[in-house]
């Protein structure tokens, strides 16, 4: 396993924003863009799939499905709505959710590792300020949520853990997990949207 930073983690935070778009080239059928896309986003997609799926072979199948979906839906990418990396991540998540729903497979969540990760994450929240504007805004908005709600969202969204699993891991009633995750997501969305409006008005500090 080769660990490495996402292409932009150690660079200026807007480096992805200035990088050339790949998906529009995919959308018009430029074969050469396929390799660029895999080089650019292969690690991202693979890492998401490995986080969500316990079996490497399942993760490989999922990656193939994700990229097929990406080739087919590249023409829906709209730069004005978000970054390209966010679009790729969105497609990946969508496919993985479908896959888990169909197979009822469990995610790769490991309780011991997970608790350690949660602690690390909480201690080093500044390290999350990276990549793209959307991630920065999400981090800022997440910090406004109660700690338990942050944990629920992380396990649900970042690890693809079912609410039942989260309930067990965090010893929180299932109904609370469900409500907490859903309302948390809506709150983050609304918070990010408000920050966007403030930014447009010039009152937002990123």
């Amino acid at each position: 396993m080769t660990g490495h930073s996402l292409q932009t983690a150690d660079r200026a935070d807007d480096s992805i924003a200035v990088r050339s778009f790949i998906l529009p080239r995919i959308a018009i059928g430029e074969i050469s863009a396929v390799e660029d896309c895999l080089n650019q986003y292969g690690a991202l997609v693979w890492s998401i799939a490995r986080r969500w799926l316990r079996n490497p072979s399942d993760a490989e199948d999922a990656c193939q499905e994700i990229f097929i979906d990406l080739w087919r839906s590249a023409n829906r990418f709209a730069p004005e709505l978000g970054s390209e990396i966010a679009f790729v991540s969105m497609i990946a998540r969508r496919r993985l959710i479908d896959r888990l729903r169909q197979s009822k497979a469990s995610s790769a969540l490991n309780p011991e590792v997970e608790f350690a990760e949660l602690e690390d994450e909480h201690a080093a929240v500044g390290d999350r300020l990276e990549i793209v504007d959307e991630a920065k805004k999400a981090t800022m908005c997440m910090e406004r949520l109660p700690e338990d709600q942050q944990k629920v969202l992380k396990l649900s969204i970042h690890h693809g853990a079912s609410h039942a699993t989260i309930s067990k891991r965090l010893s929180i009633p299932l109904g609370t997990v469900k409500t907490s995750a859903r309302r948390g997501l809506v709150r983050i969305r609304d918070c990010m949207s408000r920050n966007n409006e403030l930014k447009v008005k010039g009152n937002y500090k990123s």
Binding site: G3, I28, G29, R51
Partner: protein
């Protein structure tokens, strides 16, 4: 939003559940009661939010995708791309045979067979896709994307060249505007035409030639293309060979499918440094 506040909160939470993949069967049914077009935007915004949250956690270290998997995905990709843009296709490289050419850049029978197979595949895909979105929409969408990527190339490529079309030795009757943009580091380029006469693809087609003295003294075939609108048209250049330092781009009118050797009898447009 048009829903009442409490109803809207329920809807938003159901949508969040959908994005998080945790809807029960009864909740799925409840969500389906709402008109789907009313919350399409909400679904997208929640999906984007979930991606942003995911990225905010997952960016510090990533695992490389296994090379074999990457190769497999790349190998299968052509079967799933929306189609080859028929406006950006390029034939295997051809140059005038009366001028010395390195063997390495001659088109081969295998390449030709691949080209025929690819055309067949593209044709099939085009048919399938056209059943879905309508052929007009597809072309419109592709052209929009070409325009977008062209603008992006102009903005971002530090080594880009951008030359306006000028009259060739057999100019059109009416003036044609536009330009050609090329970025050598990206090997990406676009032709833009305004007021270019439409062609009848069953009789003749336009063909692009790229002059690159660093590669060879002979022009490289940039492929054939059609013009179906006299408004602004942007066409992607898909050069099969690396173009190091283009000196000129020329458009000729040839028989359908293009030619290996252009007589240059009909050369209406040229773009170069001068």
């Amino acid at each position: 939003m048009s829903y009442k506040e409490d109803e809207n909160q329920t809807l938003q939470e159901l949508l969040a559940g959908k994005i998080l993949g945790d809807l029960s069967v009864s909740e799925e049914a409840e969500l389906n009661k709402f008109a789907s077009e009313a919350f399409e935007e909400d679904v997208m915004s929640l999906e984007r939010t979930a991606s942003a949250i995911d990225m905010s956690y997952g960016s510090s270290s990533l695992q490389s995708m296994p090379e074999k998997l990457k190769e497999r995905i790349a190998r299968d990709a052509p079967d799933f791309l929306n189609s080859n843009d028929v406006r950006s296709v390029s034939l295997p490289v051809k140059v005038a045979p009366d001028i010395h050419v390195a063997d390495t850049i001659r088109s081969s029978p295998i390449a030709a067979r691949e080209w025929v197979a690819w055309l067949a595949l593209a044709g099939s895909l085009m048919f399938i896709v056209s059943q879905w979105v309508g052929i007009g929409e597809l072309y419109k969408d592709k052209e929009q994307r070409s325009k977008l990527t062209r603008v992006e190339l102009i903005k971002q490529a530090s080594d880009k060249i951008q030359w306006s079309w000028a009259k060739g030795k057999t100019p059109f009757e009416s003036e044609v505007a536009g330009d050609v943009v090329w970025g050598s580091s990206r090997q990406q380029g676009y032709m833009r035409f305004v007021n270019m006469p439409k062609n009848d693809p069953t009789k003749e087609q336009y063909q692009l030639w790229i002059v690159d003295p660093d590669r060879d003294s002979n022009p490289v075939d940039g492929g054939v293309f059609d013009i179906s609108s006299t408004g602004e048209v942007v066409i992607a250049i898909d050069a099969r060979l690396p173009i190091a330092r283009p000196a000129a781009f020329a458009i000729t009118i040839e028989k359908t499918g293009g030619v290996v050797v252009s007589t240059q009898d009909r050369l209406p447009l040229i773009a170069s440094t001068n």
